[in-house]
Symmetry: C2
Subunit: 419 residues, 2 copies
């Protein structure tokens, strides 16, 4: 990974210089929290700590970085020396990835020398924001899916390459079976899936010829795209192949009235005794489509979801902030209208009733709540959980999520008490 | 830059293997186009060719990549050898960055051996999509700004780090004065700007003390954030400093009724003879806010725009596709409902009337239109334009854009004829 130190706003550096010059290098606590959950979400899923810790390891100003900063003629020489010797040595308190969180809860708190922790603001917001945004969106697909298989197809329209990578990771954490994204497969060992594109079918003179060519190359794992010309005709060609003993794992429908088509295609296969062929649906699918189709019994086995999930299209950002809450042991709070903050390092205590979350209290920090000390003086206290472990954490959380909060369309506010 | 070869969907690779096995390695043309412009956009701004060409240079399968692919046990040995020796050697026809484009126009066309150009689909869509999405959004801010200064503050809530980087680049191309993003400053020589955060003010016992400390560290370039406690009191403290001969370049207002506050703050400064102090407004600003405030004469000099622009929040994706349009000289077209394609390599011929664009024709490729051959057999034909040159291209385009298409709220459809 490249140095991440310049993935920051200029003002983080100017403030750091002015802090040091004014003797303000005392111990500070910054808290990252979402002010308000979007109107179309009932909960958030904590995500991004893994990518953040990786980025922090690479938060070092290279010689090139320092030359660039010097060229700006803004900074003093001694401050550039400070940056040259910068290495992250602070404490991080965080909610583990995969846990369900709500408005005003401290997702991540950093405690350390003021200039040092100020410098990290932009990087921390960027990585926790996008990952949490994504996991909170993809979790809704999982809720909608009723046990059907979900695959991330979103890389192509994610906002850049790392958005695609993190999107695959976040969706896997929240129950997706895999991704089409090979980088995510390599980096995070997420299972990879794929079918074929329309271009493949179109290159051959006949659709059937295309199917045969693909199956020949991948005899055990071919999923055929059947909607290039006529979906039902495409399904019949798949049947023709199977009657010859050729294995077809599934078919994909990417356009048209997929609900009706899925029924008709299912009927074609069942009638012919090929009930085990999976039907994959893709093409602008979101969690509301999935919920609607399944509520009407559409026989879809696998959903390929992409654009609308990896851009969190119906709510493409969170109102997230990284705010100073404590300096040299004294509380700090901001009074700007609509942007009030709450002082001191905090813990989230979760209360349960009948096995379900009933309300949270955000209290002055003590051990034993959702927030854990994960990094002490710049060093991880223990290896971060694997993606599979994070996924298990999320699945356990879901069991405790009150049923009304699982609604995809009705806004339900969970109670968070600030004390 | 790291290898970009795995930033792709699995199916690009499976298709490539099956193509080669079926003898389908002939010359193919793929075309990237936006099917339909979002309902809240009247035009798009072509963007992303620079980042794409950089990514293509790094589109090489490393030893690690190949080991990962081998571990999947999907691919045949000879195909992994093919990937090992892969290097991009095709032709790219593209609309230069900064030009205004519309629905169904070929933004980028790749012509080369079918397996080679298929492999690039995901990378090409990802990079051209996000950059074009962003430039099309930030161009609207420029239209709204009426010559006021625009600064990109979006890194923190962009979808990942490279989204922040590309967002700074795209917004600079469309007339922004600069960015807060230091990586964008270093990588693309974009001017960098910054003020201070609320945390800076809060660390000091008194707001005035914070202002003094900042100005002391940056005597020539201090912009003071005045809304931490009480905006008008903050403005008065800035006045107090200036009366002492201390230079204050500007003040920033990040919350509250910024329109009213900007008037009151302007009055305070003007009354005291400090008419040259700039007023910066930030905090969830988008182009509609800017247009509305300026239409009512709000005395705002600089807009810091972030989240809603870098996520293109009101339209976070484009309906973009990369489709096979020609194979071995024969036309290819797809008939899926709503997803029809148009065959052959194409050119965009633009027609003008009275100096304004009047309609476009998408015709079989010939020289002399918007589409240029930029890359021949994998090599750039000439150095790509600098950001400043691209910005000039965009500014010239704006002069020719019909006034009705500049509307931020009224949907106007530009005529594109497909022949």
């Amino acid at each position: 990974m490249l140095s991440t130190a310049l993935f920051t706003d200029l003002y983080e550096l100017t403030m750091a210089q002015a802090y040091i010059e004014a003797g303000k290098s005392g111990r500070a606590v910054f808290s990252l929290f979402v002010r308000k959950i979007p109107h179309n979400r009932n909960f958030l899923v904590s995500c991004g700590l893994g990518p953040l810790m990786e980025a922090l390891e690479n938060f070092k100003f290279t010689k090139e970085d320092l030359e660039y900063l010097k060229s700006l003629q803004i900074f003093k020489g001694w401050f550039l020396d400070y940056l040259e010797s910068y290495s992250f040595s602070s404490d991080i308190y965080a909610v583990p990835e995969g846990r369900i969180v709500f408005q005003k809860e401290p997702l991540l708190q950093v405690e350390g020398p003021l200039p040092e922790v100020q410098l990290l603001e932009t990087l921390i917001i960027n990585l926790i924001h996008y990952n949490t945004l994504l996991a909170s969106k993809s979790a809704r697909c999982f809720l909608a899916s009723g046990g059907r298989t979900l695959i991330d197809f979103g890389l192509r329209r994610a906002h850049g390459l790392d958005a695609g990578l993190y999107g695959a990771r976040a969706s896997y954490i929240t129950g997706f079976a895999g991704t089409s994204n090979l980088m995510a497969g390599k980096r995070y060992s997420i299972p990879v899936f794929g079918t074929m594109a329309h271009s493949f079918v179109m290159v051959f003179e006949e659709e059937e010829e295309a199917f045969r060519a693909f199956v020949k190359s991948f005899p055990d794992r071919a999923t055929l795209l059947i909607d290039t010309y006529d979906t039902l005709e495409g399904a019949k060609k798949a049947v023709k192949l199977m009657r010859e003993g050729i294995k077809v794992v599934g078919v994909r429908i990417d356009s048209g009235d997929v609900e009706t088509l899925s029924r008709e295609v299912r009927n074609i296969f069942d009638r012919e005794g090929f009930g085990n062929v999976k039907i994959v649906v893709s093409g602008g699918v979101d969690e509301l489509d999935i919920a609607q189709w399944l509520s009407r019994g559409a026989p879809i086995d696998i959903f390929g979801v992409g654009t609308k999930i990896l851009t969190s299209a119906d709510s493409p950002y969170l109102d997230i902030a990284y705010k100073l809450v404590e300096y040299e042991g004294r509380p700090k709070l901001k009074l700007s209208p609509g942007k009030e903050t709450f002082p001191y390092k905090r813990q989230i205590m979760r209360n349960y009733e009948g096995g379900f979350m009933s309300f949270d209290e955000v209290v002055p920090y003590r051990e034993g709540g959702l927030v854990e000390l994960v990094c002490k003086k710049g060093n991880l206290l223990k290896t971060l959980p694997s993606l599979k472990e994070i996924r298990d954490i999320f699945m356990e959380e879901l069991l405790k999520l009150p049923p009304e909060l699982k609604s995809l369309e009705r806004k339900v506010e969970y109670r968070v008490i600030l004390s």
